[in-house]
Amino acid sequence: MNWIDTIAQGVLLGGLYALFAAGLSLVFGIMRLVNLAHGDLIVMGAYLILLVVSVTGINPFLAALIAMPLMFALGWGLQRVVLNRVLGPDILPPLLVTFGLSIVVQNVLLQGFSADSQRVGAGALETASVDLGVVTLGVMPLLTFASAIAVIVCLNWVFYRTSLGRAFRATSDDPVTASLMGIKPQGIFAMATGIAMIVVTIAALYLGMRANFDPTIGPARLIYAFEAVIIGGLGSLWGTLAGGVIIGVAQTLGAAINPEWQILAGHIAFLVVLLIRPRGLFPRAFD
């Protein structure tokens, strides 16, 4: 067994998990909303990309560009019409609503696309690889990882360098005082969910190109995303990437020992981190 290869593959797999998790982390960081439908929204994004590809015949990456504004609008509307109404001091109503949303999304997808598993074809890219001597890495996993880093760099730029990002952080700290600054917290939340859905679309693109998907796989993706966010520390995007990498490496190492251990090894790594650092690796200094 080639340990370096196993670890390298795990790190790259972590990029996919970080993509799953980044949108979740963003929304939780700004409005303390745990979106249980996040995984299903990723699957929905994958179907949307598949639909665009099969109708127009264009490249999946271009299809994702078309899907992004649609998903942004969907997220914006979802927050405005549904989620803003249930946000408050009680954390239970948003959990119930997003749990219900998860079931609705799964069943709408089942109705619309059947239970058959699907895949977004990416042509030669699916099997392309680069030989680095010590290890050979797939182009697709490399692209996934690079996209995860690009997403986190962009989100951090928005968060820490723009007026919108200041409004995000201020609203997250104290929505009442933020409104005294002329900020509409409800509008800020809608913007945040819209941006999270753009990230969801990117995650959906790689989910759809790398593996088969069907309407029911969302919740399993949600668990990896949660684990990545919690390992990294709530609200830290680089921490989320680290969390994704830890789960990815644990899974590939587990699988290298015995294929039955793949999923379990990821969950065990999560529990070990929770035991040692209950607040995650990079927790925010306050809250």
Binding site: A167, A170, A178, M181, G182, I183, F286
Partner: protein
């Protein structure tokens, strides 16, 4: 000209009524002080004007317009800014970001911008990259005032800006008041320090248990009358 006015303003938190028909008026260019003991309703009055608490539209008038029912972000956009009790700086923003966010909702040109605020409180320029909450109490209060000024308000509401600060720091902060007024803001001050309130204001309202019990220009009010209005006692 009456810039800001409340008419028979009532406010309640659930079943608890905090204000019972409060009438105050702020003339353009003037400073009004609201004094009273803890629980008199001073902060509730400020929160009602600022739109944090909603009221019937005609209970708050700004430039003759009924604004009592507007949310806080729209009140800010009209030109009423508040320095909230306890300063309420944003812990995840630096000093400079706290100031910048003050200009988020109202983009009118005016005297106040980053440079003008640093001119008013020079210490903030040195501390501008620190987290807002890493500063001393007095410096945090300067940030809170600067943040409110960044929207170039017509009316500045200051809720207990001297609370918990050393006398020398309070003096520094009040020294900024004339320049704030020169730049075009009229001021409503909530103050527990009666002496300070009398010194800087053109008109004083004394509140007790949700009502205005005394009002007038500082010169026209006797110590004994204020004492009675403040404590409700007839000594």
């Amino acid at each position: 000209m009456t810039l800001l006015e409340t008419r028979a303003l009532t406010a309640r938190y659930g079943d608890f009524q905090a204000l019972f028909g409060v009438d105050i008026a702020l003339q353009a260019g003037q400073t009004v002080a609201i004094i009273g003991a803890n629980g008199a309703g001073k902060t509730t009055l400020m929160r009602s004007i600022a739109g944090v608490l909603r009221n019937a539209p005609e209970q708050v008038l700004f430039e003759g317009r009924s604004v009592g029912a507007l949310p806080a972000d729209e009140i800010t956009a009209l030109g009423i800014a508040m320095v909230p009790e306890g300063r309420r700086l944003f812990p995840s923003l630096s000093v400079e970001e706290n100031l910048l966010i003050g200009a988020y909702g109202r983009k009118v040109q005016g005297h106040w911008g980053l440079e003008a605020v640093y001119g008013l409180f020079p210490i903030l320029r040195e501390r501008r990259l620190n987290p807002g909450t890493a500063l001393s109490g007095g410096q945090q209060q300067m940030v809170a005032i600067g943040r409110a000024l960044m929207s170039n308000p017509r009316v500045l509401l200051c809720d207990e800006i001297s609370l918990g600060l050393a006398p020398v720091v309070i003096r520094d902060i009040y020294a900024a008041l004339p320049r704030i007024k020169e730049a075009g803001a009229s001021v409503v001050l909530v103050e527990q320090d009666i002496g300070q309130a009398m010194k800087v204001s053109d008109h004083v309202y004394c509140m007790m248990e949700g009502r205005v019990t005394l009002s007038g220009s500082p010169a026209s009010l006797s110590r004994a009358a204020i004492h009675d209005a403040y404590f409700g006692a007839h000594a």
